[in-house]
């Protein structure tokens, strides 16, 4: 055994049945994606050939989904940011707006064209729709000396999500593995996702915080969508402003059929492919993730945790912004003058001190232990729990960290000072392969 998890890497990062082909890197080295593409992968022509949509067609698409009784959510300028909000038509989309994102930094920027999806991604994720910050579970009331419990069935909003990015679709897939385990499917998550309609939009203007290429999730969704659009827009008000649309499901193909649009020509699909390729090149393969599972597992005592703790505010913004973080607290609320109690589930963060409060004490009293929990959970122990990485490379935790802590930099720093923790015999962690060395 060469490292604590065994050199044969028998612990796969994803179920072998779902394992995509390992991507070939430029240097020829085989690199395993740490996050799977949403499954099943959609064959390019499975639901008909690519079509061309105009801005007016996109408007029609949004309206038809709304008319079908769906709650349509899409990007919209919301104060100083683009947020995912209820929308009624293409006029609500952030036409001509882009974003500039960096560590602890976000600014809206005017583009020199009128692209509808010319930003990278919203700093607030879709998570709040599928896993709301607060959801009521049941009411309990004392009746004739007994406790009467009324469950609160989750609303079934029939969402249509317009403009989901590839990493965001991957995040849905990661959360699905958390919430929809066959032995305990989560009713709220199920109600919010089982009848959703996803319109993916491939990325043309990634941010400096994006690292989906390294994470193996983007910049173009390979599955998990009903319709996938790629926006082509060379100049303002150009007659060449169009969207190449692919259906990913029969439902997507049916909606597209109602729009009666023309098939895409080879040059049009070629333009779309070029946009995605340019985005992938801009994002680059810069973040080494194929070894992080083991790297973080063996660096529990790395001095870098104290270094980052001196900068970290323990504010929890990263976990709340992260599209895959799933932690929650369960609280009881009893309004005054009412004998009843409402039990609710609310978001929680491992950066809160009370998060690790147990009978007899607290497991993580220092910021350094809490930061370590966050990063190690995302990239390492998540794999042990759910057979997939908890990070899809969206970069939100980098943008929304008020002090600009960048997980990519922290990973690099830990790799640079890789100090495999040596445990005394008595406390050595147990692995599937037996005692760690």
């Amino acid at each position: 055994m060469e490292d604590m998890f065994g050199s044969d890497d028998s612990r796969t990062r994803y179920p072998t049945t779902l394992e995509p082909e390992p991507a070939q890197q430029d240097d020829g080295a085989v690199r395993k994606p740490v996050a799977p593409q949403p499954q099943p992968q959609i064959e390019p022509q499975a639901f008909g050939g690519p079509l061309i949509l105009t801005v007016a067609d996109v408007d029609q698409l949004i309206r038809r989904l709304g008319a079908d009784g769906r709650t349509v959510i899409g990007p919209k300028v919301d104060g100083p940011v683009i947020g995912y909000q209820p929308i009624g038509g293409a006029a609500d989309l952030p036409s001509g707006w882009g974003d500039e994102q960096g560590p602890g930094h976000y600014r809206l920027r005017r583009r020199d064209d009128d692209a509808l999806f010319g930003y990278a991604l919203a700093p607030t994720s879709w998570k709040r729709y599928v896993f709301p910050a607060r959801s009521e579970l049941f009411r309990a009331r004392r009746e004739d000396g007994a406790l009467a419990i009324t469950t609160i069935p989750p609303a079934r909003p029939r969402y249509a999500f317009i403009g989901m990015r590839a990493c965001e679709i991957a995040a849905l897939d990661v959360q699905r593995r958390v919430f929809m385990r066959p032995e305990a499917p989560d009713p709220t998550y199920a109600a919010n996702t089982q009848d959703m309609f996803v319109v993916a939009v491939s990325c043309g203007s990634p941010a400096a915080t994006c690292f989906c290429v390294s994470a193996g999730t983007g910049p173009e969704a390979s599955g998990g969508y009903d319709i996938r659009l790629t926006e082509v827009n060379s100049t303002p008000n150009s007659p060449d402003h169009y969207f190449v649309a692919n259906a990913g499901t029969q439902a997507g193909a049916d909606v597209l059929a109602q729009l009666a649009c023309k098939p895409a020509s080879d040059s049009e699909t070629g333009a779309a492919t070029q946009i995605v390729q340019a985005a992938a090149t801009a994002i680059g393969q810069g973040v080494k993730l194929d070894d992080v599972h083991e790297l973080l597992a063996r660096n529990r005592e790395n001095p870098r945790w104290d270094d980052v703790a001196a900068r970290c505010l323990s504010c929890g913004n990263c976990t709340m912004s992260c599209p895959t973080c799933f932690c929650s607290d369960v609280v009881d609320e009893n309004p005054i003058g009412d004998d009843g109690v409402v039990r609710a589930r609310v978001w929680a963060s491992c950066f809160g001190v009370s998060y690790s409060q147990m009978h007899g004490g607290n497991a993580r009293t220092s910021t350094s232990s809490r930061y370590r929990q966050w990063l190690t959970h995302k990239m390492s122990t998540w794999v042990d729990q759910f057979d997939v990485s908890g990070c899809v490379g969206c970069g939100r935790c980098i943008t929304t960290c008020p002090v600009g802590i960048d997980i990519r930099t922290e990973l690099e720093a830990i790799r640079a000072t890789d100090t495999a923790t040596k445990y005394p015999e008595s406390v050595r962690p147990q692995t599937d392969e037996g005692l760690a060395t």
Binding site: P80, R107, T124, A310, L313, N317, G352
Partner: protein, 280 residues
């Protein structure tokens, strides 16, 4: 105290009388007590569930019975206050401090790092009649406190939560994590990240439902320091977004200037005695 057998923190059984609640005022502006009156929708249920007694004026105090719960507003600024809070403590089964003044000394604690005699000689025609302590301090500096409600003023929701928890005999949910957690749950745009507006949310205790960032303003820190407030790191970031040291020092020197974490942050920028409030 009503009839025996009622412990405000124990399970509520069949009650023969309502728990009693007293509201006491020390050096403060009354804003926190107004929060109690502001509970319009709940005030009826509240007055049915508890017996409320107010003791607003220092002269009218008659500490002649036990109260189940005492809400204490205001800070200790005079020798008489310091004596009176001991009587209030002795007459209270549970003592809950309400607001920044009662929990950390309030904005009036600015005097803790200044010359009080100089202040009184400037402000009052007859400073010789003013009998005041050198400092303004929170209640917990004088007597044991069972529960703290932060804020300037306190949050209505937290007040109701504390009272309903007391009545139901459960632990109130008063999180000590940052305002940021509430801000993100509300789905707000971060004013610090997206607009470069100074915000104390990352080092301030939650409880207000991120009131200020929800309307596009930075948090002023009125709920005081959060559980693991890293003010030094936030100071660095505020500098990076272009806030000058004087403004950073001032932002830590408001409602909770006497809270150790904020005081330390302010002093790190301008040690006492330096002319920090001059005419620059």
């Amino acid at each position: 105290m009503g009839q025996s057998g009622i412990d405000a923190w124990g399970a509520r059984t069949v009650t023969t009388s309502r728990p009693t609640l007293a509201v006491w005022k020390f050096s403060s502006c009354d804003g926190c007590q107004l929060t109690l009156l502001d509970c319009e929708d709940e005030i009826l249920g509240l007055s049915e569930a508890i017996d409320i007694a107010y003791f607003l004026e220092a002269g009218h105090d008659r500490v002649d019975q036990m109260y189940d719960v005492s809400l204490v507003e205001g800070s200790i600024t005079t020798a008489h206050d310091a004596e009176r809070i001991r009587e209030v403590r002795a007459a209270s089964r549970k003592l809950v401090t309400i607001g920044a003044c009662a929990t950390s000394g309030g904005i009036q604690a600015l005097r803790n790092s200044a010359d009080v005699q100089e202040f009184t000689s400037i402000v009052y025609a007859h400073p010789e009649f003013i009998k005041t302590l050198e400092t303004s301090t929170g209640i917990a500096d004088h007597v044991p406190v069972d529960l703290e409600l932060r804020g300037c003023p306190i949050s209505r929701t937290q007040l109701l939560e504390a009272i309903s928890a007391l009545l139901a005999g459960r632990t109130p949910r008063l999180p000590s994590y940052s305002v940021c957690q509430e801000c993100k749950q509300a789905g707000n745009a971060c004013v610090l990240v997206a607009s470069g507006t100074p915000c104390l949310g990352p080092v301030t205790q939650a409880g207000c439902h991120s009131l200020c960032p929800s309307i596009g303003r930075g948090c002023f820190g009125c709920f005081g320091p959060s559980e693991s407030a890293n003010t030094a790191a936030l100071t660095e970031q505020l500098r990076r977004v272009g806030t000058n040291d004087r403004d950073i020092e001032r932002s830590f020197s408001t409602f909770n200037v006497n809270a150790p974490e904020f005081r330390t942050a302010a002093l790190a920028l301008y040690p006492i005695q330096s002319p920090r409030r001059g005419s620059e």
